[in-house]
Symmetry: C2
Subunit: 478 residues, 2 copies
Amino acid sequence: MAAPKKSSRAPLARLSALAVWLLAAAVALTAGQAPRVEAVDLLVRGGAIVTMDARRRVIPNGFLAVRGERIVAVGDAAEATRYRAKTILEAGGKAVLPGLINAHTHAPMTLFRGLADDLALQAWLTRFIFPAEAKNVSREMVRAGTRLACLEMIRGGTTCFVDMYYFEGDIAEVTEAAGMRAILGQTVIDFPVPDALTPQLGLENAERLIQKYKVGHPLITPAVAPHAPYTCAPETLAACRALADKHGAPLVTHLAEADTETRTILERYGQRPILHVERLGLLGPRTIAAHVVQIAADEYPILARRGVGIAHCPQSNMKLAAGVAPIPEMLAAGLAVGLGTDGAASNNDLDMFEEMDTAAKLHKVMRRDPTVLPAQAALEMATIGGARAIHMADRIGSLEVGKLADFIIVDVSSPHQLPNYNLYSTLVYATKSGDVETVAVHGKLLMRDRRVLTLDEAAIRRETAAFRTRILESLEAK
Amino acid sequence: MAAPKKSSRAPLARLSALAVWLLAAAVALTAGQAPRVEAVDLLVRGGAIVTMDARRRVIPNGFLAVRGERIVAVGDAAEATRYRAKTILEAGGKAVLPGLINAHTHAPMTLFRGLADDLALQAWLTRFIFPAEAKNVSREMVRAGTRLACLEMIRGGTTCFVDMYYFEGDIAEVTEAAGMRAILGQTVIDFPVPDALTPQLGLENAERLIQKYKVGHPLITPAVAPHAPYTCAPETLAACRALADKHGAPLVTHLAEADTETRTILERYGQRPILHVERLGLLGPRTIAAHVVQIAADEYPILARRGVGIAHCPQSNMKLAAGVAPIPEMLAAGLAVGLGTDGAASNNDLDMFEEMDTAAKLHKVMRRDPTVLPAQAALEMATIGGARAIHMADRIGSLEVGKLADFIIVDVSSPHQLPNYNLYSTLVYATKSGDVETVAVHGKLLMRDRRVLTLDEAAIRRETAAFRTRILESLEAK
């Protein structure tokens, strides 16, 4: 379109030329935007969008638009033309899901993966895990183990995890650098541990962590983590509760995992674990309780009333022979239940796809009813249900406008997934962690086409090998 | 080395020149072979050789030499220099295992994967599986489904499977073309099925299959497969036994899967399923019984005495809520137990690594004992134990001189497998089917560095998509 230029024509002709130019410019401007193209940062185009929203909509050929850290549009692929973005992810023929939420793990324990398996619980803990921890857990080890854990979790489609370990401040720095979202619980325990000789020091560590990552940090939510009712005296548990309340922080704990715990707590305090911690005020709307295998009928309403979130860890509970948590009953009672892998020493991986598959199958056989915990319910526990269980359902767990952009793109056309009649079935019963192709958290890509962007895999291999040698030597040296 | 040539020198000098040449030639010849280099067809060099031999040797840095279809040497990598081969597979840092044995599946049912899940058994069978089979099972469908199954199984490290379906002759041709080893049982059942309107016709199909693949075929072992005690009258079962005995063929059957079966058989014949089929002579040293969940204390010795092999299918039994087979008790009773995935409609995959992981964990939690079924025992069920269960332990299941060269090379350095302290733990609790890199059966490579060599993956995708459409349409049309 030529710009108006000085002319020798009459003023009227010049005015009319100007009018033509203005009209043309207006048309050009409109055409350029028509019908109003909005700029976003990230556009996922095509693919089945498994929203996990309240209506559990699955948009067979959809799109997802992200600006900054938030989802700004979800809909049918036809509407995607209204958006332009520098980064476009083509997801045609794939599935787009909310990022998976691992509601219970101990990230650094990846470095103890397979160190000691198939042992009685006491022998496992006292002969291997506790000595290995006492001799090896350091800030450096925790950082290396968390890097390995984040690498594995990102590669398997996990975008958010709930952790509980030592040196949680170091875990926080590594997790933030990896770009993952996490609730990180600093362990408080009555016996001396690598980062605290007393529970008082553990509480101080926890408060320092909370003050550093004040509520509102984009990725890291600091938390207080009393280890368990059998390793923390009533006054320790009460102090943890007070600290969490003082800062409005989550409280993460193991609860009612094994029958040995039930017996111990009954003996010591005259009550079962859930009633015992209820009496101490440990249960509340920011509490995340892992395992909860040993639950009596009268304890469901307590957990429901208190708004406690449950982290169900089926594979860990199976491998350590803790028992099977009554998840269908918990869901029927309206409890918020998420899924966790537990640490790699007791699973031995951080694979949420296997956890979903196992959960769905385990509860069917326990109740001799194949209709129990269908595929969709298992996927819920790893997404929106998990978000509820960790008290973050207002921000994550589903693909909806306004939520944080934590999503994954999953191949659903591998030979082991075909023919793919029902997407929920395909995702829960046939999809493997290796089918995850792309992972985004807080609007930022962490993995694209199976290449992890935020971690140096070669360096992680090297430091893992070095720690392997060191850990083996530490166990040989008495 | 120069050849002797006509010379003008004296005869003695010429003779001495000849002697020198002969000596030099002898030295050259010896040097070329020193210290006797043997020609083989395939050499796997480096890698931890998990032999699964009687001593369960694991050679940390070993080699495997194959001539024709057999293993001719296994040992320390240092000895590998004694062999030369056109094809050398470098396995340094990886694990070399006997090929996995899937002791029970229905290969063509991959095309029904995920068609109907989470339903009560009767609804699942009568509303979906039986109508889908009645309307869709054809020679063409069975071939397409088997191709998809073989692709998935090869990619997951399975080298041998036991099948039971219709048109088993077509399954045999596809399996042979894919290069896999299999025991293929032609189904005999009392109601009309796609390849036989009567059990008599089923028996004729079975005999035709046996006559075509006479005992001794390199890959395919034909078998008779009476479906189950509740779908076959006593005379049908007896006729199956007679046919199998006539030809020395294996007999494959479902046995004691669900409590509904136990009730039905008790009602009809006044005995529990195992005793019922024992009375009919169905149990013998070539019988492979799938599931065997419902077993009473007095039935163990019967199965042991008869030399029956058991195909344990934990994931299918969980998903269909059949129950949990008492595997630790069976192993303690000396029974031969293998692992099976069952068909993809009830699992929903053919993944033996997941099956091992699930088996090891399931029996721990059932007995509240984490020492039950350790990793090595789970791997045994998928290799040498599986070979015993399918009555082929003299030929496959371990890496030993004289056995058939069915082996797989598995990556053990993926992030989800590190640091790898104990190879059995790594393989059972942390390895995924996607970690399998190379697969050989009968001395022939079927997959190399994750590229399947014997099947056309693109063509399989196309035909799977076509059958998907056809199957969905068949179910919509009433």
